[in-house]
């Protein structure tokens, strides 16, 4: 009897929490269809804010920057992180404490310290040498820096989960070092590489603080644009971009669910 009350209470609490988690997102999506530009009252359904987006050069370029940044940084981080992950695995019996500290540093450093360190550094390098002017390049460098650890750890844990004699079997079956990489290692860790790429991509799109401090005047991403618009005073257009980004996340969520389902079968 008592147990059932507990269970019912928990179920209620679960739905309450879900409401709490999704309410702000639902409100953003809802108001993106608002006919008026009021943030408080809903006056009717309209697509006018979405149409306004298409005509907004700044938003379109911010969208392009976000994509370029996310793709370039993820690809670079994938290559470098994959190498480190394999190195950590292959030499796991050595004392590599310094490497572990180095790998965890970008993860534990507070975003804001991360961001201003990079900004201060890039500004000074630029003043001294003229290189690394704040812009997409500096943003890509910073994003790669915080993506590397995640890629490395995912790849490392995939390797650790493998039977170590597989490496010897590949050698034993006439695979040269290059062929071992192409025909054994890369195909074996492919799922890890895919999830590492998507995680890096998501981290890049999600990031605001580090991008904000390393961006130049021409390289605003969507989050930076939204931030600026909010600071200037809320415009309902923001609801529309934000709603689109929420939509992208929803699609990603459904995809990841179906992919994990298929893997289970």
């Amino acid at each position: 009897m008592r147990k059932r009350t507990l269970k019912r209470g928990l179920t209620g609490f679960w739905w309450l929490t879900l409401t709490f988690l999704y309410l702000p997102l639902v409100v953003v999506v809802l108001f993106s269809f608002n006919a008026s530009n009021s943030a408080a009252t809903f006056t009717g359904v309209s697509l006018r804010w979405y149409k306004a987006l298409l005509g907004n050069e700044q938003i379109l370029s911010a969208f392009g920057n976000t994509l370029i940044l996310a793709i370039c940084s993820s690809v670079i981080a994938l290559c470098i992180g994959c190498l480190i992950g394999y190195g950590m695995y292959r030499h796991r019996h050595r004392k590599l404490g310094w490497l572990i500290v180095l790998i965890y540093l970008p993860i534990v450093l507070p975003d804001i310290v991360f961001g201003i360190s990079e900004m201060a550094f890039f500004v000074q390098i630029h003043r001294l040498t003229g290189l690394l002017q704040p812009g997409l390049l500096t943003m890509i460098i910073s994003h790669v820096t915080f993506q590397i650890p995640f890629v490395a750890l995912i790849v490392y844990s995939r390797f650790v989960g493998l039977d170590p004699t597989l490496f010897e079997a590949a050698k034993d079956l006439y695979a040269t070092p290059v062929k071992r990489v192409v025909h054994f290692m890369l195909p074996t860790i492919k799922p890890a590489l895919i999830s590492a790429f998507f995680l890096s991509f998501t981290l890049s799109v999600d990031d605001f603080v580090i991008s904000f401090f390393t961006a130049g005047p021409e390289s605003a991403t969507l989050p930076i644009y939204i931030w600026g618009a909010i600071k200037k005073g809320v415009s309902p257009e923001i609801n529309a971009i934000a709603a689109l980004m929420i939509g992208a996340v929803a699609i990603a969520a459904i995809l990841s669910l179906t992919m994990s389902r298929r893997r289970q079968v």
């Binding site: 609490f13 190195g87 360190s117 550094f121 939204i226 909010i230």
Partner: protein, 307 residues
């Protein structure tokens, strides 16, 4: 003895090969992190000990002026503003972490009581909001808490806030934003702990202790402690350095340390002062990590808290 020479050369040849391999795989990433993170952070720490020059850029000579200013000593004598900000950061971190635990604990438990095929979906539902950009999520709360919205009207009607104020900007809004932001980070490790829970122990405890409260306290709670600890690390450390949420939801009276630091690099333009604030944040981060490691080691008997 005859083979000892061969031994040395064969072994050292292998070691050289292994070291070259280590260098080849690890060097690119290690160099990247050293050049683009360790050097910049070291530079930032150096900046904290320099003087504030024109345009807020650091200048020689070395001085501890920025730490004095961080403690509130300015041109116009001592003012408590910065100390308030510091205290507020600590307080918000504490309250938000506590609230996150209170919400996440039953949620994580509830997920483990549900059928196995639903659990991944339930976890996904908890995590998905954190996949959206922080700015957008916070913007959603701005929409919800602004003056004139149903939530604000309700709070007005109940007499919590004065008319036409709205629930944001306020310290309450910041706390809410923090709890919202970090809830998934607590649910995941707690869920992992609950899933590993040894039910035999729980049943034994129900036999031994009469009340369910005591059974929980003696059998369940200790087993979830490592998860709780991991979650606390994941929540408290980033919460202390939070920038976006107090900036958007807090207004002038809701500033936290992150805002104080950021302002020095943008509007306020006093790099050394901002760097001093960053050092404070780093110290807090490492103290937090160290403390959790220590407690985690004592609790888990060698099982490390994974960050």
């Amino acid at each position: 003895m005859a083979y000892s020479g061969v031994t040395v050369s064969a072994r050292s040849r292998g070691m050289v090969r292994e070291s070259r391999h280590l260098l080849f795989t690890v060097a690119p990433g290690a160099t990247w992190i050293i050049v683009f993170l360790v050097l910049p952070s070291a530079y930032l720490m150096g900046v904290a000990f320099m003087s504030n020059g024109t345009y807020g850029l650091p200048e020689m000579p070395l001085s501890l002026e920025s730490f004095r200013r961080l403690a509130g000593f300015g041109f116009l004598g001592w003012s408590p503003g910065n100390l308030y900000t510091l205290f507020r950061s600590l307080w918000q971190t504490l309250v938000a972490t506590g609230l996150v635990v209170i919400v996440a604990y039953p949620i994580a438990y509830y997920i483990t009581t549900c059928r196995e095929k639903w659990r991944p979906i339930m976890l996904l539902l908890v995590v998905v909001p954190s996949w959206t950009n922080q700015v957008i999520r916070t913007f959603g709360w701005m929409n919800l808490l602004a003056p004139g919205t149903p939530l604000s009207s309700l709070a007005e009607g109940l007499g919590f806030i004065s008319p036409n104020m709205g629930l944001y900007p306020s310290n309450f809004a910041v706390t809410l934003g923090l709890v919202y932001n970090f809830l998934p980070f607590m649910v995941l490790p707690l869920y992992a702990a609950f899933e590993k829970l040894d039910t035999a122990q729980v049943e034994a405890a129900q036999d031994l202790y009469a009340s369910p409260v005591r059974a929980f306290w003696h059998a369940v709670f200790p087993q979830t402690l490592p998860g709780l600890l991991a979650g606390t690390v994941l929540v408290a450390i980033p919460a202390f350095g939070m920038y976006v949420i107090p900036e958007l939801l807090g207004g002038g009276k809701g500033m936290m340390l992150g805002n104080l630091v950021a302002t020095q690099f943008a509007g306020g333009a006093n790099w050394p002062l901002g760097a001093a604030g960053a050092i404070l944040m780093l110290i807090a981060t490492f103290i937090g990590l160290y403390a959790m490691r220590r407690i985690g080691k004592r609790l888990g008997g060698g099982e490390e808290v994974v960050i």
